[in-house]
Symmetry: C2
């Protein structure tokens, strides 16, 4: 299982550091055994006593975090650079506490139920489009160390993480991927990662079991193009080559909007970041 020991060790060290350094601040240690993926993480100590006081309430510092998540997941709140500072604990609990996994499971259950009802043409032209980040691969080990989206995007740090090729699979997506391959529907991986990350991406996908995909499409290195344009353009090329996009799964609306969207879209949760 591609969840390297050195990263796990770093998590444990972070927990120890939090425990020893935050004698007066509130802190939480979360542990989730996600099949064979151990996920351990400390939510950052809340230094403000007001934040600590409010941390058990739904409405942290004026922002009802569950309603903020609703508006984000439905593409109403757009273009945000970071999650509301007061929602860091909420998002952390969402991501690690089982809610994220449960939401993802219902999405994939629906995708599989849909796929099973398809009358497959069996001509090898049916494809399913998969995004990478927070879709095939989970960057939760990275985001857990970066405030679950409370810190601004750090291109260099995230780039270094991608180069490690150490991200675990989103296990629900992997379940869909395997099922579709079994059914003869070809996976196409379509990502906003750029070409300089092709090797690391391919290595990471292979390491966690995403094998036998039809194509891995990355954004040209210097293309000045937003995700919707890039991704819908690539889907259009697939259709022009007589492929039928029976499904399209991603965590961002930019994965799912823009014709041709694919016959059905499946929105995975992601309250941590927004991609334009």
């Amino acid at each position: 299982m591609a969840f390297p020991n050195h990263r796990l060790a770093a998590f444990f060290l972070a927990v120890v550091a939090a425990v020893t350094s935050s004698a007066v601040a509130a802190w939480n240690v979360k542990l989730e055994i996600d099949n064979d993926i151990p996920l351990i993480h400390t939510l950052r100590p809340l230094l403000s006593s007001a934040a600590g006081h409010q941390s058990r309430r739904r409405n942290y510092g004026g922002v009802p975090c569950d309603s903020w998540r609703f508006a984000v997941e439905t593409n109403t709140i757009r273009g945000w650079a970071t999650i509301p500072a007061s929602c860091e604990e909420y998002v952390g609990n969402y991501m690690l506490g089982g809610h994220y996994r449960r939401d993802s499971r219902v999405v994939v259950d629906e995708a599989i139920a849909y796929a099973e009802k398809l009358k497959a043409a069996g001509n090898g032209k049916e494809v399913w489009v998969f995004d990478v980040d927070e879709t095939t691969l989970s960057n939760l080990p990275y985001y857990a160390e970066h405030g679950f989206g409370a810190e601004p995007y750090d291109r260099a740090a995230f780039g270094a993480y991608v180069e490690e090729a150490s991200a675990p699979a989103l296990r629900e997506t992997k379940r869909l991927y395997d099922k579709l391959k079994e059914m003869g529907i070809k996976p196409v991986i379509l990502t906003g990662r750029r070409e300089d990350k092709r090797e690391a991406t391919a290595k990471n996908l292979a390491a966690v079991g995403y094998t036998g995909y039809h194509k891995l499409l990355l954004k040209p290195q210097d293309a000045k193009v937003h995700s919707v344009e890039f991704k819908s353009g690539e889907r259009k090329k697939l259709e022009d080559a007589a492929y039928v996009i029976v499904g399209n799964i991603g965590d961002q609306w930019t994965d799912l909007l823009g014709e041709p969207e694919g016959a059905r879209t499946f929105k995975l949760p992601d309250p941590m970041y927004y991609v334009a």
Copy 2:
């Protein structure tokens, strides 16, 4: 305030009936004072003891209702005729317990913040598209009496309710509507209700304060056309007449998908029904 006394009286009678008839069954009475709208309702007695037993858990009878709602609100689960039977209490609590109002408020706060940043052209050509059901008007008084979507759609019963023209305003949407009018952005009401409901719809809208809209567009009586086609077609006509659709708000994805969508879309919550 257009919340007729006879309907309110019916609610009270329903509560009394539930209290007197359900000595052995579980029942709940919910009361919410929503500014000047009293909302009182009894959730239907849960006749199955298993359902009663599970009613305090998130996962009712195998369906995690909050995850089901996530997948519905993000357009992943489509074409459903009724909510999962085991989620009736969950959806009832969501609708009446303040969560629905809070989610709607965040959507409208975002819409107003967006509108305030617009550089209005001031040429009278800027419009904002509003849906009717569960957007300008709330049919919660009807749905509260019909299992919050647990009962199959009843065209005759719902039609009779529409003819009453008694629906209250969704107060968050009303707040947006008033703000936009003040800013010189023209409201256009675009609904899947058919032409035979024009009079009742106009009367209901006026009764709850939706006045001064630019157009009220209903579906032609006998048109065999799905909502996405009808609504995107009407938006196209607006653009062809040189209007600029600066915003578009609705509770169904069929309100918001299909070019031209409008410069920004705002998805209100609706876990009670699905419109194709």
